[in-house]
Amino acid sequence: MTARASSIFTGAAQSSVLTLNRVCLLLVAIALLALFGADLAIYPVDPWQELARIGQGILLPSWQEPRILLEALGQTVAFALLAVAIAAPLGLGLAMLFHWRGVRVLCAAVRSVHELFWGLIFMQLYGLSATTGLLAILVPFTGVFAKVFAEIFEQQSRDPALTLAVGLNPIKRYVYTLIPQAWPALLSYTRYRFECALRSSAILGFIGLPTLGFHLETAFKQGQYAEAGALLWAFVLLIACIRFWVRPRLILLYLALSIWLLPETLGFSNGGYFWRFIGQDIWPAALREGDIGGALSWYGEMLSEQVWPGLVQTLLLTQIALVLTALVILAVYPLATRAMAGPLMRWPGRFLLLVLRSTPEMILAFVFLLLFGPSGLPAVLALALHNGGLIAFLVANASDAGRGTLNDRPDDPSGLLRYAYIETPRRFPAMLAFLFYRWEVILRESAIMGILGITTLGFYIDSAFEEIHYDRAFLLIAVTALLNVLVDSVSRRLRRLAHAEPVRQQDSSCLKVE
């Protein structure tokens, strides 16, 4: 801490600002280059009839059967709660072992597969069951928890550990120093992840689990927009009210309720499906028959026809979406802060951010598809708005939490000057850190844009599952995972270069404010 404070008065601070600027410029330059390669055509369309129906449905939502809505809400919460309750302790355990490269790679690999694809994989093993839903959330979430918890530990002061006996076993070290030190940050991050788990749980309905997404997808694709509107509002309300209904004392009760609420499991894996899947399904026929030449030509064909084009499209879209996300954050976060929008006027801003982060990207993408026609543009816009809304919410919270601290001065400017010279520079490193975290999320999510006719890696993975070509799905998922491990290590390095630490302490207090 002291070293850091003194560095502000030396050249070190300036050089870190310089690096920060360089990293940002580099990302912008890459995105500009990507603009040339990406497919962002706009087509003449006449969407107003359809958009009017969507607008009407959202303004005048209606739902016939409250029981079904309540059931879907209950199951959305049940999956999310149980998955987090299992994933957080597992993640904590792995975080203590995060200095092992093997653990880091494993965590990056499980994180890199979208919840929907985990769902599809587990469905092969456990059918359409509670097990499938739980595992689909908890496996990737464990990877995320491990990574973030490990980073939280990294930021803790090492001083308390010095008081412990030399040679004490590492677990005791964690239990007596690091975990108590980091407890508030660990807890607040877990709470934030719970909101993410609710979103994942809802989206798993898209592949058939009985959560909100099940009905939302049906209503939306069949143009029953009043019902889709009702479901969207229910979901927004659920997330908006988290702080009222998630109470530490009630958690145990909720957990018990969740187990009771989980859908009845029809069918179960007897182990045979597992070995069939691992041993046969995911390997190309040629390889299983020992035909090495045939297998090589199969891999070669996949590489040139799906892997490479998918990789290029995915990266192009991701880089553009990343920079656009940053612009969205900078544009909307002040609307939700006490300092710039004012104590009252920040509520419409906060509402906007709530809607942006609660609306599944697929629905945003569909609306933009109607507006601009099929190309990468709807995908980029949907990703940027959703992720921008999410990060802007965290940044705005950090800004509100910074009020009344020592940094505040009575002669601070207000309005635009405050935005340009005080808030944005102060929030910028944290914002960049959040952005780097979302990088891999954006990478994963660019996968779900098949309706746009954009052939990202995810498009091919989805096709492979639909066409029952699990060998292709496995190869493509493995490539995506590798790409993600790569992006993860680059973003780690960039973050260190930019000194863009996530400022967990602020983050934790901001979540309490919320």
Partner: protein, 286 residues
């Protein structure tokens, strides 16, 4: 003591599984209107239960792929598949049989539809004017929204759809295909004829914006497929009784869920053309 407890625990774990073993489970994805599946097909389950004398359950699924997986893993024993998904499922589960198809499924067809701004006119064949347009299929595993349209595109133009059109999307659903072509988001699309006719009747289609430009030749589509091992689990002749029950389903309320006029007998061989088409365009391995 602890041994008894352990035995008790194991018994409790196994009992529900045994209870399930006697339940006959089916799934179905109708080609239109997927809302309130549980209620609508719950009635079909009640009907089958009364006819067959065993407990019958319906589970809703979201995609053909999920239906096939459930069928393969014996989570469901009977399924209302599309033409292509039925072929895929029967390849994965040796011994399974197509029992019955909808009356309409004997001569099913797809419509190619176009936004009127394209100036494309109804014709007897797919015209060269289609080249360079944007085009959307329905869902990736659909027979009427993907397989047959792709087959006829390849037959007409001698190349893959991605080469014929400027852009090829997958709307995921027939209703969405219609909405997207009507709004001009895509210029041309391929859609299940039954869904088009239903939406036309309901007044959901603005014919000044979108129209049918070509109709495919007919092909067999949706059918009921049952696993080969049901006779072992539910008694000899069970398969035949299931077929009887399906063919005798006359209640318009039940049939409306599919929606079909009635069910007629079908066999695996009826779907030979679908299988060879799927192989021809590379959707199925040889």
């Amino acid at each position: 003591m602890s041994l008894i407890r352990r035995l008790l625990a194991i018994t409790l774990l196994v009992l529900p599984a045994l209870a399930h073993a006697d339940t006959f489970v089916f799934t179905a994805i109708p080609d239109a209107d997927e809302s309130r599946l549980q209620q609508r097909f719950g009635k079909v389950a009640d009907y089958l239960s009364a006819q067959l004398g065993v407990e019958v359950k319906y589970i809703p699924v979201k995609s053909y792929a999920a239906a096939i997986t459930a069928f393969r893993n014996n989570q469901v024993q009977l399924a209302w598949f599309g033409g292509l998904s039925g072929v895929q499922a029967r390849r994965l589960v040796p011994g399974s049989k197509a029992l019955a198809q909808g009356y309409e499924d004997q001569f099913f067809k797809s419509y190619f539809i176009a936004n009127t701004s394209t100036g494309l006119e109804p014709a007897d064949s797919l015209s060269d004017a289609l080249k360079g347009k944007t085009f959307t299929f329905g869902s990736k595993g659909s027979t009427s929204g993907r397989l047959m349209p792709e087959f006829y595109l390849r037959e007409q133009f001698g190349m893959a759809p991605e080469e014929v059109f400027e852009r090829v999307g997958f709307s995921g659903d027939h209703s969405r295909t219609i909405a997207q072509v009507q709004s001009g988001a895509y210029q041309v699309g391929a859609v299940n004829y039954a869904v088009w006719e239903t939406e036309l009747k309901e007044g959901k289609i603005d014919t000044s914006k979108v129209r049918v430009i070509w109709t495919t030749p007919t092909y067999p589509d949706y059918q009921w497929t049952v696993r080969g091992d049901v006779d072992q689990h539910f008694g000899d002749g069970f398969k035949a009784r299931v077929r009887e029950a399906l063919l005798n389903m006359k209640d318009p309320d039940l049939l409306a869920s599919f929606p079909r006029e009635s069910f007629v007998p079908a066999s695996n061989d009826d779907y030979g053309p679908i299988e060879s088409t799927a192989k021809a365009i590379g959707l199925l391995d040889e």
